[in-house]
Subunit: 199 residues, 2 copies
DNA sequence: GTCTATATCTAGATAGAC
DNA sequence: GTCTATCTAGATATAGAC
């Protein structure tokens, strides 16, 4: 089952967007020509340009769809009654799951240099899903589970390790699939921001 | 003073490489044309192609020069007599310094999707400087300053936060220049891998 | 709405004078 | 070694039949 499956979208648009996700990640946006998309998707040039204004708008619609789907999944993962540690753990599991089961999605959302082909798009780190990652840590500070500190530092430290691990995984630098490291990486990263429980 | 200044290189090659660094980061490799390089460097098309085989080899030589220079600086930073914490701290200061004083260098080395325009280049995380980052942590484990754990996890956690902070800085998401966060981010990230000194 | 055929343009790369 | 002028290929995008 492919990741993109918004029933609002026509069959051809879905085909094109799925091919775009595949090819943009495998070859890069600029190395992917419209004829490449035609070949991979089975949709003709004319139909592509009937559905999309130009090549850039394919990337933009792809990004919008992915963000929409990511946001939905993230909301489903976040159970408000849990404490900050549990929320953090669940979010990290979801991040690693996505990297494992839909590596192209992670790669496009996290690694692509969007500025180069979507100049007016806001950077991914100011997107809703990234903001919610930070919010979990801020709740953790209010709960006393995380020590008081600069929220940006806390976010960089708590999620930086996990995101770095995902990048290493996408670069084939790990011997195991990413989820294998879930407990070890979350416990390790959490220590960096956790309040001292000793005293 | 520009970052690239290897006296082995001819004046024109240096001009071209410095312009390439600037333009590849500002506009991206694929959005930078040879005429763009001509305009920015003041070197003519003919001279560029006299010095370089093709556009790709400009990027390759740029990367090679940067890695060579980075490796030299890293060696100068690493004082072998210091303990692992001090080495880690010095390396992080050097990373943040580079991001602050030569953001284009950090951006090209850390963020560019090299695979897309230099297909046969090894990923940056398997380069010598990245390996040395990991070695410092392994020495830390031998010294008992870092708890025993998967070296990849340790590296992802200890450096992931710092690298993440650098990315946020390059994305203009921080209010202060990166070096301002040096102590806070290193102490925070180090906690994640530090051995328990209590017992 | 979907297709094929094609127009147009710009990039990378070269030729050849100096 | 450096320059200008130019070639050529392949990309995006369009036109127009069905």
């Amino acid at each position: 089952m492919s990741y993109l499956n918004n029933p609002q979208l026509s069959e051809v648009k879905l085909k094109v967007l799925n091919s775009a996700l595949h090819l943009f990640v495998e070859k890069g946006y600029f190395n992917t020509s419209i004829p490449d998309l035609v070949k991979h998707s089975g949709v003709s040039t004319g139909s592509i340009y009937h559905g999309f204004k130009d090549k850039q708008s394919i990337a933009e619609e792809l990004m919008a769809q992915l963000l929409w789907q990511i946001e939905g999944e993230q909301n489903a993962v976040l159970a408000p009654e849990k404490d900050a540690w549990q929320q953090y753990y669940d979010l990290c599991r979801w991040l690693l799951e996505t990297a494992q089961n839909h590596p192209h999605v992670s790669q496009f959302a996290l690694r692509a240099q969007h500025k180069e082909f979507m100049p007016e798009l806001a950077p991914i780190c100011s997107s809703k899903p990234f903001i919610r990652l930070r919010e979990v840590l801020e709740r953790g500070m209010q709960q006393g589970l995380i020590r008081e500190m600069n929220p940006m530092i806390a976010a960089a430290s708590a999620y930086g390790g996990v995101l770095r691990l995902i990048q290493l995984s996408l670069d084939q630098m790990l011997s195991q699939p990413p989820l294998e490291y879930l407990d070890e990486i979350t416990e390790t990263c959490w220590r960096s921001v956790a309040a001292d429980t000793e005293k």
